[in-house]
Amino acid sequence: MRSLQVSGFATLLACLWSLPAATILGLTNFRGKRLARGFFSAFIGVPTVALGLVLYMLFSRSGPLGVFGLLYTPLAISLGQAVLITPIIVTFAASALESVDPELRDLARTLGASEMQTSLAIIREASFSVLLSVVAAFNRAIAELGIALMLGGNIRYVTRVLTTSIALETARGEIAFSLALAIVLLGIVYSVSLALNLLRKA
């Protein structure tokens, strides 16, 4: 399934830079921290078409990143979705880390943990909430349409994903097929959430 690959890779990419950023925002104090947090939380709800348009201009042949020839490739969609969900992971993961009892920090330190080990202990404490932010981000990525359409171009076998197929089939009047695809999409989103809930109980 192209959708799972594209959005899964997007989520992995986003984690790569979002989780370290969230750790810095959640566990350290620095000048401009509030500004940085404000920046990320402002972009949580960014309209996918607006972001798609900006990235389209960047990726298109005449754009600054045009030389890479990324437009209308699956990688372009992944990159676009990764940018889209970065604010979600950063904001929610940082809040999760911040909400860990500050005394746990002292506890880890008084038991001989180094700064690094202390931070790891805090991340472990918040791991479920951090995972939740990643899952929410994945769901947002797999369910969005604007970026996939504008950066992918909905090319059959190449950049066609679930959401773009649904849009296309509906436009062609193939409502039954659209519905089936929509149910598959819902199924994916639902089973990811279900898996997370099972994990929480364990």
Partner: protein, 351 residues
């Protein structure tokens, strides 16, 4: 040259903006001793412990370990602290107790052995697989203690380890602390309970408003309590008098104000006596019991004290007694009421 103390602090100061939490603490702690920090809340006990634990750096002043200056990181290497409010990692008891051992990079087998040993010490063997946060408050505090003991700190710091605990768990903790042995033989214990300090500590340091007002061995402090110590909540009922009659281990002591009490003591001459408010039984009619002392007086002060009611009763001298809220209500006690105070001769401490 004198041997350097195990731990020495020089002019430790801690200021938070305009407030001063610690105003120049000089303290010497010898290897192997248990030192109690006594003082009312807000006196700087926790701040001093946190500095000794290396969890915060003082505004000024320094700490020396065996004569060498150590910064916070150096102190963290030798000390481990148990906090007043229990905090548990969200994992099993085993995970909690083994945390410090993992940071040391010990082998799995060794970690297992040390965890079991620590849990045995606090009487929680068999609890390894339990979720730490599902345990009762008292059990959690015992896990905290085991967790600190597991790393075998050269200096163990305890911040009010029995506050908020039921008597059974509190005495379990006290039992562990008084039988530490090799795990951690140097202990600094913050408490606001003078009786606990007396039971557990070799020496007592009295803190008030960020200053060490008195340091000495527990018995000595009882004998000559400074004005502050005597007025400080937990050390009430200290009286001075002289033994009027002493026979077969029982002394009749006159305290002035027409008060005579009997104490289990062979002392003669001038003495100081101390009765724990908790050991005094309050009744509305004289009761027949084995208590050698029954005094009649009027309630002159009623004070709420963490779930208990502290009474001051004028029997010629003012005596403090404590009753539970329930008893206070059920007995219909109130200001001005006449009551009888009973306590055993063996409850009277004579120094």
């Amino acid at each position: 040259m004198m041997m350097a103390s195990f731990l020495e602090t020089r002019e430790l100061q801690m200021r938070y903006g305009p407030t001063t939490a610690l105003a120049g603490a000089n303290l010497q702690i010898e290897k192997g001793e248990t030192l109690a920090l006594v003082g009312p809340s807000g006196s700087g006990k926790t701040t001093l412990l946190r500095i000794l634990a290396g969890l915060q750096s003082p505004t000024s002043g320094e700490a020396l370990v065996e004569g060498r200056r150590e910064d916070a990181a150096g102190l963290r290497r030798i000390a481990s602290m148990v906090f007043q409010r229990t905090v548990m990692f969200n994992t099993t008891v085993y995970g909690n107790v083994s945390f410090g051992l993992h940071t040391k990079g010990l082998a799995k087998r060794e970690i297992e052995e040390e965890v079991m040993r620590a849990l045995r010490k606090v009487g929680l063997q068999g609890f390894e697989k339990r979720k730490a946060r599902k345990l009762s408050g008292g059990e959690q505090q015992r896990v905290s203690l085991a967790r600190a003991l597991a790393v075998r700190p050269a200096l163990l710091l305890l911040d009010e380890p029995t506050a908020n605990l039921d008597p059974a768990n509190a005495s379990a903790i006290e039992h562990v602390v008084s039988n530490l042995g090799e795990e951690a033989n140097t202990v600094v214990l913050a408490t606001h309970r003078m009786d606990q300090a007396e039971r557990l500590a070799d020496r007592v340091a009295v803190l008030n408003e960020g200053r060490l007002v008195q340091v000495g061995d527990a018995k000595e402090l009882f004998r000559r309590p400074s004005g502050f110590l005597a007025s400080f909540g937990q050390l009430r009922n200290v009286f001075h008098g002289s033994v009027a009659l002493s026979k077969e281990g029982l002394a009749v002591i006159t305290l002035g104000g027409g008060v005579r009490i009997e104490a289990a003591s062979n002392r003669t001459g001038k003495v100081s006596v101390f009765v724990r408010p908790e050991d005094i039984i309050v009744s509305k009619t004289p009761i027949v019991s084995s208590a050698r002392n029954v005094l009649r007086g009027r309630i002159v002060k009623v004070e709420d004290q963490d779930g208990l009611v502290a009474l001051a009763v004028d029997v010629g001298q003012e005596l403090a007694a404590v009753v539970t809220k329930q008893s206070f209500v059920e007995m219909g006690l109130n200001l001005g009421l006449e009551v009888f105070l009973a306590f055993k001769a063996s409850s009277v401490e004579v120094v």
